[in-house]
């Protein structure tokens, strides 16, 4: 039997805020590492938005009238952008369930870092990877006649990051309660599809039947999709008539909800769900 030189022991520093940031950073880094290792997924997630824009967009284009030369394809593009970010973010949050099934979650839960740090790291990781996914879809903007304006792209990235953060927080909150990855995917699809369909991603939010009007206004996702579309149409060289039809914005009664308030609503729902997730994981074994 070989004998080894004694290993110098290390002194692990005490807790506090330092340990919080450390926990956030290391969980975030792992998300990026896993995303990068799984490059195939990056391309499979691209399929869905491509179907929406080019298949559904062209298919429905023939029966929807185009206003001032703007086609349905261009209209649906911001919705598809939101969708790609949405599904990447949820998938990223789902890795918690995956980690639980394969045991790695316990490695994190027994570490001397706060559970909230783990949850925050996970949400930021999901936000980062889903935004990176969004960049790929953004690269396709030219194909639907949207100019590559640097300022527009920067604003869109900010909005997508916020959407991704909130959706990851939603996914992490769910993942605290679900034991199997199949269960997680089933539950999130069941919740996300109605949210996505009533968010105005696929149709304008004006002139809807009364009940649908109410549902779209209660849906937090509405306030994430609308700013994305409004920014895209702001940078699109179209007339006021086309903007009024395609990107009318969200109204409450007669009140026109400003973009900043929409973003506050998205951020607030994200933080609230993050808080719930933090509480759920605090007492989890």
């Amino acid at each position: 039997m070989t004998t080894y030189a004694p290993v110098p022991p290390v002194a692990v520093p005490a807790g506090g805020m330092g340990s919080f940031y450390r926990g956030v950073r290391v969980v975030w880094q792992r998300e990026l590492l896993r995303f990068w290792n799984d490059r195939l997924r990056i391309f499979t997630v691209l399929v869905q938005p491509l179907l929406f824009v080019f298949v559904l967009g062209n298919g429905l284009g023939s029966i929807t009238r185009s206003v001032s030369g703007v086609s349905y394809k261009t209209f649906v593009y911001p919705g598809a952008l939101a969708m790609s970010v949405l599904f990447t973010a949820v998938f990223s949050a789902g890795s918690i369930v995956w980690d639980r099934e394969f045991g790695f979650l316990r490695e994190m839960l027994v570490a001397p870092v706060s559970r909230l740090a783990i949850v925050v790291g996970k949400c930021l990781g999901g936000a980062t990877t889903a935004t990176a996914q969004g960049i790929l879809v953004l690269a396709l903007a030219g194909l639907v006649g949207i100019p590559y304006s640097p300022v527009m792209i920067l604003i869109l990235l900010g909005e997508l990051a916020l959407l991704a953060f909130t959706v990851t927080a939603f996914g992490v909150m769910i993942s605290a309660r679900v034991r199997t990855f199949q269960g997680f995917m089933g539950l999130t699809q069941m919740l996300l599809m109605p949210l996505f369909f009533t968010s105005g991603a696929m149709f304008p939010l004006s002139g809807l039947p009364g009940w649908l009007h109410v549902v779209t206004r209660l849906n937090p996702l509405t306030y994430a999709v609308d700013p994305i579309r409004r920014v895209v149409f702001h940078y699109l060289d179209v007339g006021a008539a086309a903007r009024a039809v395609y990107a009318p914005g969200v109204t409450w009664g007669g009140y026109h909800v400003p973009i900043w308030l929409e973003l506050v609503i998205v951020a607030a729902s994200g933080l609230a769900m993050l808080g719930v997730a933090g509480l759920e994981f605090r007492d989890s074994e």
């Binding site: 692990v12 926990g23 880094q29 639980r100 001397p112 989890s284």
Partner: protein, 331 residues
Amino acid sequence: MAVPAGAAAVAVRGLAKRYAEVEAVRGVDFEVAPGETFGFLGPNGAGKSTTIKMLCTLVKPSGGTATVAGHDVLSERNEVRRNIGLVFQDPTLDLYLTAAQNLRFHAELYGVPRAVVPERMAAVLEMVNLADRKDSKVMTFSGGMRRRLEIARGLLHSPRVLFLDEPTVGLDPQTRSSIWDYIGELKQTEDITIFMTTHYMDEAEYCDRIAIIDHGRIVAIDTPQALKASIGEDRVRVSTADDQAAMAALKQHFELEPRLSEGQVMFSVASGEQFVPRLFAELGVPIHSVSVSRPSLDDVFMAYTGKTIRDAEESAPAGAELMRMMAKGRR
């Protein structure tokens, strides 16, 4: 082994855990001295894993107190966590990352100073003989390699107490013995206390002291040698032409307490070797074979709980299974 108060690596008083329907641990007391290798021995469902989870701050006790490395498991959770290393019976590695990435993640999570991480990583990988595989993804590792990597990871942050929950469960005998070689080396190179659970009798022999746990209670606690000595007598196994007649004769003529086990008549007697000639002379039933053995830990377990550890597992109440399922679900 008496341990002065406050100096113990692990000190437990009246520790209990009750799940909704099941009393998993019913008030246990023990102390583990620094540098000691202490084993919890018992059948599945006896409360071993629940106790280890309480000591590791993963499960909140419903009664009693416990300190690990001088810190209270309830009020100083992070202090406890910083000072312990854990190897669970279920794997907790990220299979999609390499061995080195798993270790680096752990080092960061435990705040091991960056400057010492490479040296420390190299040392623990060398110790478990995985240095040449550090850049392979863990999913390509065999069960034994994964377990060794977990042990290396558990040591990365120089814990004062290493918890091994069934460290060799599910491994083949050869791998099991190599894991014990690594643990043996570890005892020489690191200043560490080991707290382990096992339901393999032969593995309990590696411990300085053993607590036998059954139905959530400690029924005996001592060194393996003392435990074996405490039940003293030799074990004699006889196979005969007529086991029933032999049993009757042993009871009436020799005033022993024989029982049938695995097709043989078994009994305990003070000096087995001297007893054998008498047995042949006086039993009155043809004897095919006789074996005499010193008491093993299995016999110790039998003496204290009235059953073999395998029987104990087979007859484990439905509650034990339920408890394990609940523990899994709560993780």
